[in-house]
Assembly symmetry: C2
């Protein structure tokens, strides 16, 4: 009887699903039990059958839903090819750093720290508190919440040297993550078809945002101490560029930190050319052996446009960052942000401000520094022992990554593929170059995977490199 009942329910539900809209919610198991006069076990059996047939999907705690049914006519969107035209520019859809990895893989490819390195308790408490504020039901001003603006401006102001007028709260524009800041700055301050100096290698997200904005990139090679100021001067003189995008502190991916001499010289060159330095201080909270001293601290003429995000240090779910810019540049960037997204959720702003103004935030950052140090050193040691032909030229004094040069003649993409087959996910270096890569590199994030698996990961890389 149970077999027959199961069959009967399956048939009835197949008919129901065929008529239902995809995504329609099925009656609950309880309702089906009553409706078909069947036992709960029989209904469950029927549901398992439908699930195995791919006709339904169960979302635990939500319900069971009809899956989209294929119609006879396959969709044909080929007309769009004419409407859309050729691709406007090199726009990679997804960086390899954003791919998800199998749960048992050792993931060294991501750009984000593991949740255990985040101030999780603070974040959850701040969000719960923010849920009770007015910010949960009101619109935020376009420039951001005045309190959060004041916090970002105050952080810089507190470190400003005597004689330099620091930026005011008004100059700090709240944005939802630094990526949207890059997009707006490139559109509003550089502009379509205009040249922009950029370090090479550098953050792939900046290369992507520049491609989207239609900006012409002018790569400037950057070593462990930053770029050669003479090369920066030449690039400005030759191209007439009015902007230079750079990560002077714990650069992604190389970990490079500009020397004091380079900082002073580049700011002076930027001034002489009537240009902007777009300073992306992405790792401000991710210091290990050195404290960030943004170049923005030295500037009160509006030459430095400063980007500072909390996404990687507070939580990737609190998409909150600031652009600090002065003068007409501020107005242009704000106008672009307003046109792009109107305003940033006031709830996220309130929660972010809550986190960074807790005394426990300072404690968290001190602990984070030690954890990053331990992880960095563990991965360095593991590479040294198990993958001796992989060379790390700069030991990063902050940030999340090791930038690893492969032996002469190595093929980074090939190495990445072979490591992936063996369960270790790396990011190929090519994504960080605005032009052809200057060598074979891979980037290893030491803040993502469990550190106890670093030796295993290094062994896999060593094996792949030695061809064993």
């Amino acid at each position: 009887m149970s077999q027959d009942s199961t069959e009967r329910i399956v048939t009835a539900l197949r008919e129901w699903i065929a008529r239902a809209a995809p995504g329609a919610r099925l009656p609950s198991n309880r309702e089906l039990t009553l409706q078909h006069g069947a036992s709960p076990v029989t209904v469950q059996k029927a549901m398992r059958r439908l699930s195995a047939l791919g006709l339904i999907e169960t979302r635990p705690g939500v319900g069971t839903f009809a899956r989209a049914m294929r119609t006879a006519r396959p969709a044909d969107y080929s007309w769009q090819t004419a409407a859309l035209g050729a691709l406007p520019s090199r726009m990679p859809l997804l960086s390899s750093t954003q791919r998800s990895a199998a749960p048992d893989a050792i993931a060294l490819h991501s750009g984000y720290p593991a949740p255990e390195l985040l101030p999780e308790r603070l974040v959850r408490q701040a969000l719960a508190r923010a849920a009770r504020l007015e910010a949960a039901v009101l619109r935020s001003p376009a420039a951001g919440s005045p309190e959060l603006q004041a916090w970002f401006a105050g952080e810089l102001a507190a470190a400003a040297p005597v004689g330099v007028t620091p930026a005011s709260a008004r100059d700090a524009l709240i944005i939802s993550g630094s990526q949207s800041g890059l997009s707006s700055i490139f559109r509003a301050v550089v502009g379509v078809g205009q040249p922009l100096l950029i370090e090479s290698p550098t953050y792939w997200g900046a290369i992507l945002a520049a491609a989207q904005a239609g900006v012409e990139l002018v790569p400037v090679p950057a070593g462990p101490d930053g770029p050669d100021p003479d090369a920066v001067e030449r690039a400005f003189a030759e191209t007439g560029a009015r902007g230079f995008y750079a990560q002077p502190t714990f650069a992604n991916p190389t970990g490079a930190m500009w020397s004091e001499t380079t900082r002073t010289a580049v700011l002076e060159i930027v001034r002489q050319h009537g240009a902007f330095l777009i300073e992306d201080d992405w790792a401000h909270d991710l210091a290990i052996d050195a404290d960030p001293r943004p170049i923005a601290l030295q500037d009160d003429d509006g030459h430095v446009i400063y980007l500072r995000s909390l996404t990687k240090s507070v939580s990737p779910a609190l998409r909150v960052a600031a652009v600090i810019a002065r003068g007409p540049a501020r107005e242009r960037i704000l106008a672009d942000r307003a046109a792009e997204s109107m305003y940033v959720s006031g709830l996220l702003q309130a929660a972010a401000l809550d986190v960074v103004t807790q005394p426990a935030w300072r404690t968290h950052l001190r602990g984070l520094r030690e954890q990053l140090r331990a992880r960095r050193d563990l991965l360095l040691d593991a590479l040294h022992e198990h993958a001796p032909t992989a060379s790390v030229e700069t030991v990063p004094r902050g940030g999340l990554n090791l930038w690893v040069r492969l032996p002469e003649g190595g093929d980074a993409e090939q190495v990445v593929r072979e490591c992936a087959v063996r369960g270790v996910i790396l990011a190929p270096g090519s994504e960080w170059f605005p032009a052809e890569p200057s060598g074979a590199f891979v980037r290893l994030n030491y803040s993502g995977a469990a550190p106890e698996r670093f030796p295993e990961a290094a062994r896999v890389l060593g094996d792949v490199l030695s061809g064993s």
Copy 2:
């Protein structure tokens, strides 16, 4: 003694402020009382003095802060004028709808509903629950949370007629508010210098996003039943445009609703021209006398790009919306979103999904409908009685606004200014026209201010119009 003490505290604090960073928090009044051995009244007097001198600002419930101090050298950002060049296009910084009004003013200018029309309890509970989820500390996928994608797709699918294959969950891209969707669609699907048909009048945010994307607008006049399909046909034929941005249901600002005939005809014209209809269903949750039937329901060839936001119905702090697009257009839009902002906060997505899947959400929407109806009718009656020369040509069957034509020869900007002086804030109609306004209009939002003040507001408008 009190006078002297006040002076002493003022002097001490002036010195403190001169050394402090701008934005630094002053000691609390309690601390100052103890520190200076003064009475609370004396300390308060000193604070008022400092405030009058412009040296401090008090933020109630937060604290008192040093204002930015001017240094001797005034900032000179004039070099930026050369670096930035002329303004790229008409980019108004702030719509009059986004201005904040004095607390005692009757604010009919805003584009948002008052908090009492939001499902506040649901939102706060959802946020508190989301704070405990993984979504609070993880990065969301670029396309959005699969569950929320499925919800948006399912909403359309549930209403799709037989024979039309509805969009799948994958086709729903989660974005942070519909403004960012407009920006991405205009950039990714239309492109710089390309023509885009647009209703006139229409949503100012769409005009702004088009200006930012460098799109060439082709205005098509739209009456209470929508645009004349012949005019749409001519505009496509003359310009070779590949896109038409429209709000077929409860259009902002006019409240117009396209007739069935117009819907069918325009979709057919769009198909024949191998073009996209960008359907902004902004008021999907704000129906009064008619239920929204998106044109997207009729399309399975990817001609309709559908925009649907929860910002105005759930909460302005839950910046969550979806673009539903199919085929290569989906890929282009997703690539643009990824370059622009990487991903949307998973926390906001989880909270939004929580709200719209609660049974209480349906109850809320039913109540909202009645409240909007009552408010709309109250404002209509008040205008009829107190401002008879102001004419409302279309009684909106949904949405938040009355579109009011002023008497022949009226000057909308002048009327808005005079009403503002008398404490009633309206929005001048010119902001909704992609070209010259076709007449003198003002827009009145009946969902913002307290409805009991509508008669008062209508009297002020009537007085201003009659010159009394």
